[in-house]
Every structure is written in C-alpha cells, then in structure tokens.
Subunit: 383 residues, 2 copies
C-alpha cells in the first residue's frame, strides 16, 4: 500500500473508527484499525465483534494494499501532528510508514488477513430520520436500559416499527421510558413498507445506541437505517455503523403503562428537581426511598426523606393539584433521572395510588397541556 491523503480527512476517519475498537487483550487485532485501499479510496474499519464502523476517504493511491494498525497509537500520533496538508502512507512488511511534514513514524501492524469481517449491507436503507432528533430520542431512553441484566432482552432498546413512526422503549423493570418518532413521508422507502409486514420490532444493544449517539455528535444530516439478517445498519455523513441485534422477545411493557391517572400535580420542574435532590441526600443510600405527599386541599407537595445514619429532611412546595390527595414512596434517583430528562418549565407528577406506577410528564409551556410523545413511569416502593 502506498498513498497520499489529506491530513484532515485522515484524522477524522481515525477519530470516527477508533472508538469501537476492542478494549480487551483477548484478541489483539480488535484493538487495530484496518486501512485498506478500495476503488480509489482509503477505507477504515474497526470492530469489537458487537459493533463495527466503516468510513472511507479520498486518496491518491500509488499502490493498493491493506494493513491493520493499533488504533490508540495511530490516533495519538495523528492528533499530535501540527496541521499540514498531506499525509503519506506506505506499508513495508507489517509496518506502516507514515509521514506528515517533518514528522515521521513507523508503526508495527498486524496482518489484515486476520481482521474479522464486518457484515455488509446487501439491500437498501429502509428509512431515514433527522440525526439530531434521533440522538435526542436515544438520550431520553437509554438511561433506563438495564445493564448487566441476566435477561439479555432487557439490555437493549426495543424499537417498534409502525406505518408512520417508530417507538423506542427501554426499561430496567423499576422504571420505563418510551418515545415516539414520526416519519416524514419522504423518509421511508417502499422496502420499509414491505419490511413491516414481516417484522414489527427489534432489540438494539445499549452500546450500539450509545456509540451511535457519539457518531452523530453535532452532525445535522439525516441518518439512514436498515435491518438485515439480525444486523442493524446506520449511515450518517459517510460513516457506517453496523451492530448485531439482541435475540429474544421484549417484555409486553404496554400493559403496565397506566392509561389514565387520578391525581395530577403540576409545578416548576426546577423546584421539584431541587427538592428531590436534597431529599436524595438524606434517603437511604440503597433503597433511595423518599416520600411524596400530594395534598390537593392545601395545594402542596411535601417531599420527605429519613435515614438512620444522617437524619431527615422535609420540603414543602406549592403545586397545582387536581384529583384526590395521595401519598407514595419512590426511589429518589429514578425521579431525579426523569425530572432531568424532561425539559419543559413545568412538570406533571401523575399518580393513581400508592402501588401503581407514577408518571412524570412534560408540559407544553404555552398551552399548559401535558405532552404525550414521551412517557416516563416509575414503579413505587411498597411499604
């Protein structure tokens, strides 16, 4: 292999691929990035056997070839280089000679023949979504995924395909988040319409969505999505991410989301969040138990925590309460997560009784109506 490319492109390609390289020592080649000439371009590939990333850049190729190079070393070298126009690459045996201006390195590589194959998309992308909208949806769901869960289907996000939208859901059985993303008409292909007649949901691993959110970064383009042979493919701005899907059936979570709530308290989200954070300081560090008292006569929400070691705490907040008074015990950390992820000025706390799930919802700041595109519910702690 012998070629010239721009330093800016080279740097970007290393940045985009290095993150998914393997972190363990069991298979050293997974720590490497594969560089390979392909149809007048230089292709970068990395994989940790679960997720693979591929990106290509333009290059003036003098001699075809391929090699795999330790990602960390390549990235440390490239990121410290001063800005120069060009990078010259040349392989000799299993060594990559890389020169940019006065800076030269010879990096020892491993045989490209030993590099695992990353699945290729055979057909077309099914649909596309605005990247930032997708990234935001991921961030509002992902924190509910149960990591280290014995049931593998819990360790991913359920993606449900409908005619006009997809629904993402995640739960760790203590709380659940669900978000709905509508398609623009132009953003779905005929293949998608055909696809949903056969398949209506898949489970995407936590790490895949987490990596995808990073790959999206602040890119404003559309992201393309395809599903093929138990793999999910994403493409944004020339970077392809491919991941295995999780086998198994996602639990039928719909049944535990209350259809309606008897009591609704509305108050400023920041005040609510602050009071819960303070109570969290005093809550038992294991159970995180805090007590919520919704008093509809006094229009007040009282938040209390108590622990044997530290003492106790009580905050009284004014709230707009409709429905019967309620008292319920919840895990402070789940409530903090929920109140953090909601961005409206006011927040609604929705309760049925002391043993039913509690809902936290955003409020349309102008109309005062509850926003229904995002669902976040928390199971209460039974006393």
């Amino acid at each position: 292999m012998k070629l010239i490319c721009t330093q800016a492109n080279f740097r970007k390609a290393v940045f985009n691929t290095e993150r998914v390289t393997g972190k363990q020592n069991t298979l050293p080649i997974l720590k490497n990035i594969m560089l390979e000439t392909e149809k007048g371009q230089l292709k970068f590939s990395a994989t940790n056997l679960e997720i693979g990333v591929i990106t290509k850049i333009g290059a003036k190729i003098e001699k075809k070839g391929k090699i795999t190079i330790p990602a960390r070393l390549l990235s440390d070298f490239v990121n410290n280089l001063p800005n120069e126009d060009k990078v010259l690459l040349e392989t000799k045996n299993q060594t990559l000679n890389i020169t940019s201006g006065n800076y030269n390195a010879q990096i020892k590589g491993l045989d490209a023949g030993d590099f695992p194959i990353i699945p290729k998309l055979k057909s077309n992308y099914l649909f596309s979504l605005a990247a930032q909208k997708f990234k935001e949806a991921i961030s509002r769901i992902l924190f509910c995924v149960a990591i280290n869960e014995n049931r593998p289907e819990f360790s991913g996000v359920n993606v449900n395909f409908l005619e006009d939208r997809i629904i993402l859901a995640a739960t760790d059985s203590f709380r659940l988040a669900e978000i709905s993303l509508k398609f623009n008409r132009d953003d779905i292909s005929d293949s998608y319409r055909e696809f949903i007649t056969k398949e209506n949901s898949v489970i995407v691993p936590y790490n895949t969505f987490s990596e995808l959110a990073r790959a999206i970064g602040n890119k404003t383009k559309e992201i393309n999505v395809a599903i093929e042979e138990n793999q999910i493919f994403f493409e944004i701005d020339g970077v392809q991410v491919v991941s295995r899907l999780i086998n198994g059936k996602y639990p039928d979570y719909k049944q535990i989301i209350p259809q309606k709530f008897s009591t609704r308290a509305v108050l400023a989200r920041e005040d609510f969040l602050r009071a819960v954070k303070i109570s969290n300081v005093f809550a038992d560090s294991k159970s995180g138990e805090i007590n919520f008292k919704l008093d509809s006569k006094k229009s007040s929400l009282i938040i209390q925590a108590q622990s044997h070691e530290s003492g106790e705490n009580k905050t009284k907040l004014k709230a707009d309460i409709v429905g019967p008074s309620q008292e319920i015990v919840l895990n402070s950390r789940y409530i903090i997560d929920g109140a953090n992820i909601i961005s409206s000025f006011n927040i609604a706390i929705l309760v049925n009784n002391e043993s039913s799930p509690v809902g936290l919802k955003a409020i349309n700041d102008k109309s005062g109506e509850i926003l229904e595109d995002y669902v976040y519910i928390v199971m209460p702690i039974k006393k």
Copy 2:
C-alpha cells in the same frame, strides 16, 4: 446553639472548609465540620490532622453552642438549596436543625468535645505575598514533588527564606524545579527579619500547598504567612489554613544545578512540545526514553523514540543552536512537564553533555534573553 446567618456566607464557609475533612473511616469525626459560635460570629473548622482550615462568618446569635456535622451531607444540602436570604440553625441534642425558606433538614452530628484541636497562631504573620503570584509559583513547583517517597523530606516543597525573597524548590531526584519570589518592602514584618536570623528554611507538605492553591482560587488579595512551633499558617480573605511542617533536612540540591551550559538550542515551545508528545507515544512506557540530537551545524533538533512493541518515530525541527553538537537521552514525560509549565513563545534547551542535567528555560519574548527566575532541570538517562 441557635442563630441566623446569610445563606451566601454559610455556603461559602462550608465550601472553604469541607475540602480538608478526612477521607478515611478510621476517625469519623474528621469527616465533620465543627460549627461553633464565637464572639458574635459562627466559626467553621475542619481538619484531617495534617491540615486544618478555619473560617468565620457574621451571624445573629440567639444562643451560643457548638456541634460537628458531616461535611458531605451539609454541603450537599446547602448547595442544592435555592437562593434565599437566610439560614436558620438550631441544635437539639446532637442534631442540627437547619431551615432555609421551605427547605428543612435535621442532620445528626457528633459531640463537638471530641473534635481535634486545630493549632492557633500565637504571634503575628511574618510576611505577605500577592495571592495569585504565590499560587502560580506553587503550580510551577508542585508537580516535581515525590509522592509516596520513603524519604519524607522529599514529599514536600522546600521554602528557603532570604532577606528580599523566598525560594521554593521541589525534586523527585529525577528532575528539579526552583522558583524565586521577591518581596515588596511593605510585605515583610520586623518579626520576619528576626525570624530569618534563627531559621532559614522549612519543608511544606505537598497536600498543604495543593490545598492552599485551591483555597486561593481566583482571589486577588494578599496571602499572609506565619511559622510557629513546627506549624505553618496561611490566611487569605478570612480563611485560615494551618499545616504541620515536615521534619528533616532538605537535600542540598543547589550543587546539582549546573552554573552554565555549553550548548543552547532555542525554538518555538509549541513545536518542541508537540514533537516530544509524539515521541512519547512511541517511547518505552516504563523508561519513557527519547533521544535528542542537537546538531549545531545543521541548526536542527532531531527527536527520536523507538520501542519493541509499537515501532519508531523521528521528528526534525529547526532550532537556533549555539555551542557544540550534543546527543542525550531523556525521559519524555519530564520534558513534557517542563515544556508545559513554561509559558514563553520560545523555549531554551540547555545541555552540557550526555550525563549532566539538562535545563529547560523560558525566553523573554521581546529581548530573546533567557529568564532566570524559574529553574527546571532533568537528569539524563545513562545509556
């Protein structure tokens, strides 16, 4: 104890004291802050038995008293409070009842009688220094201190007292930094003149200077310094820091600082730093060995590294070299530290021969002269 104070002052006092509380579980009371009424003020004290911090705030005291409260809990509570004017404190048995607006907590404390005594300054402060100047000097010295060193005198900074200035020095025996701070005439007391007739240097623990730098923060006032009975006292903006000194005799480091250098290379500091950082990627991770070749005929500095695992690297930089050509092996990390701490545009690399200490010095960007107030030398690696 029963009193009212402003929330802003209370918060600031907790912030200033909580950092030095003990981190270990051996003596739980060290994790507490002592609150104590004293002459119409509320005094906050914290200590980890090495360093103590005391600060006072104004308070409207209804009933005198004292109590010790877990610092972390108090700080978490106070920092989450919304801005309110006042904080009300009242103790009942060993519990502190604290109220600010609608927020209330009852925090369990420990008996103030068990709190360790923090040494008090009996005489006067000896001298004062501009706080930011002092903080900067600390930052240019502290990274050379040997932590976990068997010889306790190496685990601190040597402070040498002279008529017109103090000299701070630190070394881990592989590299050494020394900085000189001149007094303004008004900033030294008669007691200081008397003091230096008896004592000419002390060793201040690493943690003390590190904590002091944090206590200074971006305060622009003067810092007062006193030494008494093997303790050093600092005072800035109402916060008092007191620390034990390290017993022992600091090594006579002056003798290893070369009086002059035969070869001097001058080049842009950023280019130099970048090249060393790149070589560091390829250097042996234990020894950090990189090779410097100062070629006075070709006016070039060649920086090279090589390791069995990763490969090798070579960078050629233009440099203004005076004196005979040199070749020397140095630890890349020590050179990176030194080039990072120097802030001038150009840097001077000063060499005598392959087995003598190398100097890194700042250059006066206008005159091109070497600046002598800060000394940084590195021992070479013998081949």
